[in-house]
Amino acid sequence: MIKRRSAVYELLKNRKDTIVINGLGGTCWDVASLGDNDLNFNVWGGMGNACMIGLGLALAQPHQKIIVITGDGEMLMGLGSLATIGVHSPKNLSIVVFDNELYGETGAQKTHTSKGVSLKDIAIGAGIKNSHLIYKLSELKAFSDNINKITNLTFLQIKISKDNGEMTLPIRDGSYLKNRFRNALLGEQSLYE
């Protein structure tokens, strides 16, 4: 089974100027383990909304590649957002769920994906045709090699092992993250708006 840090490295190794929305919890630490980036938006709260932040960005910046990396627990809290995203199907958005079948931050309680709930099937049902369930790093490689190319709305459910990597905490202050991100993406003038 894929280790989560191997998965995040594989996904973002050719990242360039791709925008990354880090869903709260383990995936936030995973993205942080690769180093800080002005085009990371570390989501520390509002569980279930990571994908919607991705949609708002994807609609505002149709020529920018955007990846939301989040966990199965976070995704399960916002299943309706998959339907909303499926309806709009922005070509520049990828949603990647690291699925360890548990709530890692609260004591490893099992999530519904451990009992047969398929996020990939839900995504397909929501209209995201390009949805895949991934078990092997070699399968993930096929996607990560093209990660910077704007192709189609993509949903990846990656089964990852239950072990965590070393804890790496990214910047927490939301206002700072927001302004830093806008400065990087839109330019300094955006801070004067």
């Binding site: 709260g45 509002g46 919607m52 932040i53 708002g56 505002a60 957002s81 806008r182």
Partner: protein
Amino acid sequence: MSKTNTSSYLNWPLEIYKIFAKNNLIQIAYVPDAGHKSLIEYCEKDDKMKMISLTTEEEGMGLLAGAWLGGDKGTVLMQSSGLGNCINALASITIACNFPLLMVITMRGEWNEFNPWQVPMGSSTEKVLSALNIVTTRCNYENEVTETVNAMLGLAYKSNCVTAVLLSQRLIGAKSFME
């Protein structure tokens, strides 16, 4: 009531649309409400506006945060019960990060309400907003709408804060289930 609106009929949904258009609001997110029907239709006809129908109002908090990160302005239209669906995302994303946001909320559960299940959330809406320190202005009359929406939108985007305009049930008319 001394402040009864005696002017001729004012098309206030059109006035709200005009304010949205003039201020370049692009992402118009909504969960439909009968009181927002005309406004939604005006916005739908505007090619510059992206209409995003939500499965739950909470999605609008993430959406508009992402929109702002990408340089788009917008708003969320909802009814008072929808505010209840938003609270954690509103507090933990929008307010925690000082994202600008205008919510336009049609009121239920007051003024000749037919459905008792609407009353607890409707009658708590202002208190919930107040508990979150959200600047909230209520419109009871047609002639208050234009100025209020303009001011609350300006406050949200000029001062990076959350504002709410409540369109009262008196203004929009109590929903009739008999029609």
